[in-house]
Symmetry: C2
């Protein structure tokens, strides 16, 4: 008889968490062994419980899912990480894949989607929500020399990050230039370089990215 897959559930929304827990525990081959309501707790519980798989919401207080993933991936290379999100943006997906998640499930998908994802990922494969597979395939088929997909080199520099953050906060290029003591032209350059790297097209993408990063919470 096989062992049940031990699942740690990190999700800040209590009702959602309860729902997933019941769903998972209703399966014969998996069980929720721990819960966390924020990224920091997720890390602590992972160290304590060493689960087989972590189901994690991307947007959580304390430490968002992306950052938590980055930390955990280093420390626990064998643990599977499945991210839950509401965003269908491919920029997110790319970031998460780079950070080393094993799967990506949309909150708005059917509950069976998550269960399937857990089984797939446990079996050692990657899983992308069926709603998004076409995007992944599109990206694969499309640009053969696109900006991303190089070797994972599409990291934004610190300066670029700083500029993006300020843009998300609504500062104008001029204000950013003053604040960082740069010329407006330089700010523009950082901005467009960062946007190119992250495959962003407009300010909305920057705002969404910022939210994902947890930048727009408190100062």
């Amino acid at each position: 008889m096989q062992e049940r897959t031990r699942v740690l559930l990190a999700e800040d929304h209590n009702t959602v968490r309860e729902g997933i827990k019941m769903l998972v525990n209703a399966q014969p081959d998996m069980q929720v062994v721990g819960e966390a309501a924020d990224g920091q707790t997720a890390i602590a519980k992972t160290r304590e419980l060493l689960p087989d798989l972590l189901v994690m919401d991307i947007s959580m207080p304390e430490l968002n899912g992306l950052k938590a993933t980055e930390k955990l991936r280093m420390e626990f290379p064998n643990m599977k990480i499945l991210t839950l999100t509401r965003h269908t943006d491919d920029g997110y997906l790319q970031q998460l894949i780079r950070a080393g998640v094993n799967g990506y499930v949309l909150k708005q998908s059917a509950p069976t989607e998550l269960i399937t994802a857990i089984r797939t990922v446990t079996a050692g494969k990657s899983y992308v929500d069926s709603e998004l597979t076409h995007k992944v395939l599109g990206a694969f088929a499309g640009r053969t020399a696109g900006p991303l997909r190089g070797e994972g080199k599409a990291e934004v520099s610190e300066r670029e990050n700083e500029v993006l953050r300020l843009i998300a906060w609504g500062y104008s290029n001029k204000e950013i230039a003053t604040r960082l003591e740069l010329s407006v032209k330089t700010v523009e350059a950082h901005k467009s370089n960062a946007m190119r790297k992250l495959n962003m097209r407009s300010r909305i993408d920057i705002v969404r990215f910022a939210i994902l990063q947890g930048w727009l919470e408190e100062e």
Copy 2:
């Protein structure tokens, strides 16, 4: 012997909440009788515990402090509400005062500030963090025919709200115009009217306002 002031503490940050709890419980004339980590729970606990005073963080998951205040003010006109925040913006303050809070304390202030605030508010007076009193006085002394301070009539219309929200999300005027099927000129008009009403000067103000409104969380 007087009764202790019964305090309900709503703050999503666990460490902060613990700190405040210890501080309050260390006072002879007050005690924490309940805690909540989000706005929804704050409302539920208020109904359950009927505290004398609610100390509430403005930015909380589920239901932000401003909205929670609006709900609670209707239901419990006698309960005192003290808001905790990190923002020194006077736009926030105005909104909260309109929503009916009794006091406004900055997180970055000394712990004694909060204790003083609790005592002041319990005594039936209003309290504004000493860091901000000059702003309040300034507003009082200044513009005698300013846009706000009318009779509380500075409400933004729904259309204006819609436009503000989209701006905070990073949409350009043009994109908003397309999306709402308006001319760019109309969008501009709504935007500037709303900004005038809310006393905003730049896009940063819009973003901060949006965060306060809880607009920029998920989708």
